[in-house]
Amino acid sequence: MQNCKINNQIRRLRFEHGEMTQEELGDKVGVTRQTIIALEAQKYYPSLELAFRIARAFSVHVEDVFQHSDG
């Protein structure tokens, strides 16, 4: 399997959306604060469904939140 890395802009988008807390984002998308922490630290790559829910929470497209880069 080819090595790849998925970057995300969750932290930046949270602050651009009224300094939304990790807890608030977690509640919006139906996951725990620990999962938002893991996502921001790129320790966890979300399912496609969760990726879409996060994008919808910020009213942006999925590719505005997640970017794929070959490593």
Binding site: T32, Q34, T35, Y44, Y45, P46
Partner: protein
Amino acid sequence: MSRLEKHAWFNIAVFAAACVLFAIAYPRIGLLPATGCIGLCGLWGLTPRLFYPKGNLYAFLDEREQVIMRRSLQNGHAVFWALYFLSGMLAWTLHRGSDITIPADALIPLVVGSLIVVEVVRSISVLILSKTGLNHAEL
């Protein structure tokens, strides 16, 4: 700390208590009655399930925690089969050429002991995977 990690710590605490009780009881009342102490701890281990809908922890977990839960179960299974292999080979090696068989009384503690090890490994896996991270595509 997530609910899953708390549950894992609770499991480890239950098994530590079971080991301590067994170590105290075994010299006094013997092997089989001492396993009863482990059984009592098993009852204690069931108590958190009273607070889960239909006794199901999964209902409280999000997708990352479910992935961690599944991976930890896989680790527990792997350890069980490794123990199964090692204990079988050990018994065969020790008693090869003799007509000694494993006493029936030892079977229950062996099975209970194996399951305890599996559950402890599963709980430790949960704690490690929660800290180190896991990708959704890794299953």
